[in-house]
């Protein structure tokens, strides 16, 4: 058991460290603000061009085909340099990799990995949140196209997306999740209306809702077989629950470093409760870092993406919300200057216990799938 870098890992870390010295775009503290999103595409291109993106993905889609641990090193060095986190696209890439045909993979994955195409994920609906299988958006075959109608909501990055991964009902005669299929749907067409949603922290560049009214996509854009949509969705959300996949450790460590820098010149100016909140933010973030190391090491045995993802999601949520509380505690809400990034960070952290499956759903999964508690 060894937490230290191998020689290859150390060499990669050095190369990355040197590159970051010249290429840190100096975006604001985290992906919890609109300013980050304004510069995110350029940052994605920059990382990709230098060979620092998609570390564990196959070469033929633009990845580096290296062990997953290199993603963890990437996250550590981004955080140490105060650079923005890497774009979180792993769940999309893994979903298409696992369920798409060769044709689908070849057409869509390189553009996702190199940052040419931006995607959003059309799963949730106003009446289908935790109960995703009850969704009502439907796709009906019309010649060589599917015609899609329905209402998707809480869709991240829908306002800038070129494509949407849509989960829609294609068979009304089978129960719930069995009648769902997945599609890549081009966003720039008359049958689609996008409406940005303002999040509670005021940012408008993440959330949106998408109305499909006779939107069209080619039959060849179905990902997986008809009726395989639920399985693809489960692949996607299981990756969405893994902090190693998401790269969020970098985001949390960056915020914690900034809070430490705020307090360090005069710790005595802060009360015991503030310092306690800060200490817990440090400790929780360290926990996630070590936890990711553990999970990525387990992958060397081929173990991944089981119900343990729900444990990881719950741990990650606790970390993000502890960091959010520390930001609120140390910097304060800022009543005259609208709070700035600390208030944004804190308010954004409340979404972590909802997105990608609520904490309540994750606890159900941990209790029944890992602990084996009976359901009736």
């Amino acid at each position: 058991m060894d937490f230290a870098d191998s020689p290859e890992e150390a060499a990669f870390r050095t190369r990355l460290h040197d590159w970051l010295a010249d290429h840190n775009p100096g975006l604001p503290s985290s992906s919890t603000s609109d300013d980050y999103w304004a510069g995110q595409a350029a940052w994605h291109h920059s990382l990709f061009d230098a060979g620092f993106f998609g570390m564990s993905w196959p070469r033929d889609i633009g990845g580096q085909e290296m062990p997953s641990v290199f993603d963890a090193i990437l996250d550590e060095e981004l955080a140490a340099a105060g650079a923005p986190p890497r774009p979180s696209l792993g769940y999309l890439v893994q979903g298409i990799l696992e369920h798409g045909t060769e044709d689908i993979r070849r057409r869509f994955l390189p553009g996702i990995v190199n940052g040419r195409d931006r995607w959003c994920q059309g799963f949730s609906e106003p009446d289908a949140g935790s109960d995703l299988a009850s969704l009502r958006t439907h796709a009906d075959l019309d010649g060589h196209e599917y015609v899609i109608s329905g209402h998707k909501v809480w869709t991240s990055y829908s306002d800038v997306a070129d494509w949407c991964l849509v989960l829609a009902r294609t068979d009304h005669d089978v129960p719930r999740h069995k009648g769902l299929s997945a599609f890549a749907v081009p966003m720039d067409q008359p049958g689609i209306e996008r409406r940005p949603l303002k999040m509670i922290n005021g940012m408008t560049s993440e959330f949106g809702e998408v109305l499909f009214d006779g939107a069209r996509t080619s039959v060849s854009n179905m990902i997986g077989a008809p009726g395989e949509g639920w399985r693809l969705a489960m692949t996607v959300v299981s990756h969405e629950r893994e902090p190693g996949e998401l790269g969020y450790v970098a985001r949390y460590r960056k915020t914690v470093s900034e809070l430490l820098a705020t307090v360090r010149p005069n710790p005595g100016a802060h009360g015991p409760d503030q310092l306690r909140d800060l200490a817990w933010a440090v400790i929780e973030t360290e926990m996630l870092r070590r936890h990711v190391s553990r999970r990525l090491s387990d992958r060397l045995d081929g173990i991944s993406h089981g119900p343990e993802g729900s444990v990881d999601k719950l741990l990650m949520t606790r970390v993000e919300q502890a960091v959010g509380h520390a930001a609120l505690s140390i910097v304060g809400a800022g009543h005259l200057d609208d709070g700035g990034s600390s208030l944004e960070t804190y308010l954004y952290s409340r979404a972590q216990s909802v997105m990608g499956g609520t904490s309540q759903i994750q606890r159900n999964l941990v209790a029944t799938r890992i602990l084996g508690l009976p359901t009736s």
């Binding site: 058991m1 070590r290 741990l315 084996g372």
Partner: protein, 344 residues
């Protein structure tokens, strides 16, 4: 980076697991079964697990902090009522002092709050000092200031008592401290930091084991105990308590693994910070998890005969040894606010 256990570490874990499953108490009544505790003690003695931090011919420990932690976790999981953390720390201190290994079982004396190693002044041990983990031990080590560092001295102990932890008795020192023979080097601050990091790492592993055991005990109970005509484990309110307990255990495990590794892999001051980080997290988590175990057991959980409180009591002792939540938080803050480099 590859934090999987090696084949040897897996074999050690499996051996410790089997030993604990065979010989550790299954019920509260078992705690008074002296025949069983004698067998358990003999088995651990035969395995040589308490001497892993003693010096080899070249002066290194026989095994790293990882191996020690692997054993501690399995002992904690089954509430093994045999000495481990105390003798392990005694061996660590002897090695640090260049003192020969002892033929008799030995442990260490801590300050009254168990927060640090006890220090003797002119042979007198401060009032209230506590020898921990005294089962089978005939003496305990204290530190004696010498030349800007410390030497080792030894005390006899009074009757073992089980106040908090029913599985690992403590005792009061009962004699003046006498210098340990044959010490070749003083213990400096760095060596003491490393010994403290080791102690914290062992306690973190024991806490993880206790949490794991408490979750297993409660999950089994929740699946069997029926109310309203169905197992209480079918109710989401109970399921979520246990899910949170498992999550807290797994987070603690990740930090405890790291703490075990740092003991021999990082500079002592950094090892101590990492160990304190793990201890804060695991100690906070362990109280929550063990309280959950009592809650899930309901009325039965509040009776002496239920093992749930034995887990909580063991966790309370592990928590205090070499610094509990508050002391560990203070260590973490000092490390991160004192230096210029931020979060490293």
């Amino acid at each position: 980076m590859d934090v999987r256990f090696s084949a040897e570490q897996q074999a050690l874990r499996d051996a410790a697991r089997r030993l604990a499953e065979d010989l550790a108490p299954q019920t509260v009544r078992d705690l008074d079964d002296t025949e069983r505790t004698a067998k358990l003690d003999a088995a651990v003695t035969a395995a040589g697990w308490r001497e892993l931090r003693a010096a080899t011919e070249v002066g290194d420990p026989w095994a790293s902090g990882v191996e020690v932690a692997v054993i501690a976790e399995q002992l904690g999981r089954r509430l093994a009522d045999t000495a481990f953390v105390g003798p392990t720390l005694a061996a660590e201190l002897r090695r640090a002092a260049g003192a020969p290994a002892t033929m008799t079982a030995e442990t260490v004396v801590l300050t009254p709050d168990l927060g640090t190693f006890a220090t003797t002044v002119a042979g007198q041990v401060p009032a209230g000092a506590v020898a921990i983990d005294v089962a089978g031990a005939s003496s305990a080590l204290v530190l004696m200031e010498a030349n800007g560092g410390w030497s080792l001295a030894s005390v006899a102990m009074g009757e073992p008592a089980r106040h908090v932890d029913l599985t690992r008795p403590v005792a009061a020192p009962s004699s003046p401290a006498t210098l340990v023979d044959g010490q070749t080097t003083g213990i400096d601050a760095a060596a003491l930091d490393r010994a403290t990091a080791l102690g914290l790492a062992v306690c973190c592993a024991d806490l993880v084991g206790s949490m794991q055991g408490a979750v297993e005990l409660s999950t089994e109970y929740a699946a069997e105990r029926k109310q309203y005509g169905r197992p209480v484990g079918t109710f989401q309110s109970v399921q979520h308590l246990l899910a949170d307990a498992l999550v807290a255990t797994e987070g603690s495990r990740s930090l405890a693994l790291h703490a075990a590794w740092v003991v021999d892999a990082l500079a002592p001051a950094d090892a101590l910070t990492a160990a304190a980080t793990a201890k804060s997290y695991a100690a906070r988590a362990a109280r929550e998890v063990c309280e959950t175990a009592i809650q899930v057991h309901g009325g039965i959980g509040n009776t002496w005969e239920c093992l749930a409180h034995v887990y909580l009591r063991r966790a309370l002792l592990s928590t205090d040894v070499l610094g509990g939540v508050d002391a560990s938080l203070a260590r973490v803050l000092d490390a991160h606010l004192g230096g210029p480099d931020g979060l490293r």
